[in-house]
Amino acid sequence: MNALAAIPYPVFAGFTGAFEFIFSKQESSVTGGKKVGGIEQVLELAWTQTYVSLLALALALVIAVPIGLYFGHRGTGELLAVGIGNAGRAVPELALIALIAAVIGVGIPVLTIALAVLGIPPILTNTFVGVQQADRSAVTAARGVGMTEFEILRKVELPMAVPGIMTGVRGAMVNIVATATIAPLVGVVTLGDFILGENVYGTNGVLAGAICTAILALIFEFALAGLQRQLTSKGLRLQAQ
């Protein structure tokens, strides 16, 4: 029915070949004897993916946190903040990246902006909610002891919002790392290159790419979970127990 040719898909034998691909260079079946894979290339691509992901996360943080804090403190703009979060979840990453590649072009700056766009909604919404749900009596007390509005935001609401913000950051990072996997579509060679480039790396490469991407994502997740624990104030941690 569909006249358009589909990109051919790999048929997998098992995981053994994939692990061999990760640790030692292999002859490629297609590139005419050029060696691919091996730990060096894996690390290089993993570094690119880490680098663009962190860059995008930083950009998303710089934009989303101040806006979330501002509206959360004022208690206005709830529809907007929550709406952005909902709309953000509905964006199909594959379509976004493919569209950017077809219309805007390729390169790290373009990719970083696209990934940041995906990261902003969860951070913005969770920051907003975190600040808004900060204990109101604590805010009133802070105002009572003569804190300025900025001090209240920085010393009372922000610490209380940290768990919320970090939940948003983790959600954003899951999204960013996953989408960075299809970054080769915009010409940035991440671990996804193994996955999307079966013609160069073979089926073992595809599977190796999947394994490495999953490991990288889990490293990020654990690191951010640890960071969340570090950043949450001791008082809040005790309260939670």
Binding site: A6, T125, G187
Partner: protein
């Protein structure tokens, strides 16, 4: 540095696309072949039927995955509600599944389950676990102690308290979880093409369409519209199911 995709296949993509359109339209160059068009209405009106089956597949993938995910997550949440010791391991376990990038998840399943719709459904349901589990737990935790004590005072058993008091009061959070899970699943189901699961992704990640904005916009637009439609449906359900509470569970 080898960039397999940026150089090799994309160069070929243009040719495939062009020859394809030349053949179809004969004399006049279609707007896509002339280039510089973001959206090609002629092509869209002529080819919109291509998107029917993928749209249905996407819908099917989403509904089945969310249903399975809900059944599992709900059961896990009830277990964890009863045996508190399970709470943390279940949260961590579902969190790990959630953190694995979807494409990697699909591909890691392929050697085990093969290229099929089932593979896509397994991965997609795994994604919904964390969201639904967390929301059900949150809903149960938010039930006021006074309500439970009143029920206990009236002589309800623990099981009756769970089904007649706690779960009804937790509906806003539960529906909120279903809502987030469904909306994200629609978006992620676009990637099911990597598992051979069909869906709208087939109209995007496809050698002829990958560099053709019109097809990408249509497929992406349908996916997004579907997600937002689900969002609206669940919002309505939430309002009807809990007339006593406005939408405060959204954020969770």
């Amino acid at each position: 540095m080898i960039s397999s995709l940026a150089t090799m296949p994309l160069a070929a993509v243009g040719e495939v696309g062009e020859s394809f359109f030349h053949k179809r339209t004969g004399e006049t160059l279609p707007c896509q072949a002339r280039g510089g068009h973001l959206f090609c209405w002629d092509w869209a009106t002529e080819n919109i039927h291509r998107f029917g089956t993928p749209t249905l597949q996407q819908l099917e993938l989403t509904l089945i995955s969310v249903l399975i995910g809900f059944a599992i997550a709900f059961a896990l949440a009830l277990l964890a509600h009863r045996y508190r010791l399970l709470q943390w391991p279940l949260l961590a376990g579902t969190g790990i599944l959630f953190a694995i990038p979807s494409i990697a998840f699909f591909l890691l399943l392929l050697p085990i389950t093969g290229r099929s719709r089932e593979t896509a459904i397994i991965a997609l349901s795994a994604y919904t676990l964390q969201i639904i589990y967390r929301n059900v737990m949150q809903g149960l935790a938010n039930v006021p102690d006074s309500a439970k004590q009143a029920a206990r005072g009236m002589g309800l058993t623990e099981r009756q308290i769970l089904w007649k008091v706690e779960l009804p009061l937790a509906i806003p959070e539960i529906v909120g979880g279903l809502r987030i899970a469904t909306v994200s699943t629609v978006a992620i189901a676009t990637l099911a093409v990597f598992a051979g699961g069909g869906g709208l992704g087939t109209q995007i990640y496809n050698s002829a369409n990958l560099s053709f904005p019109t097809a990408i916009i249509i497929a992406g637009g349908i996916a997004m519209a579907m997600a937002l439609a689900f969002d609206a449906v669940f919002l309505t359900v939430q309002r009807f199911a809990t007339p006593w509470r406005r939408v405060e569970a959204e954020a969770a």
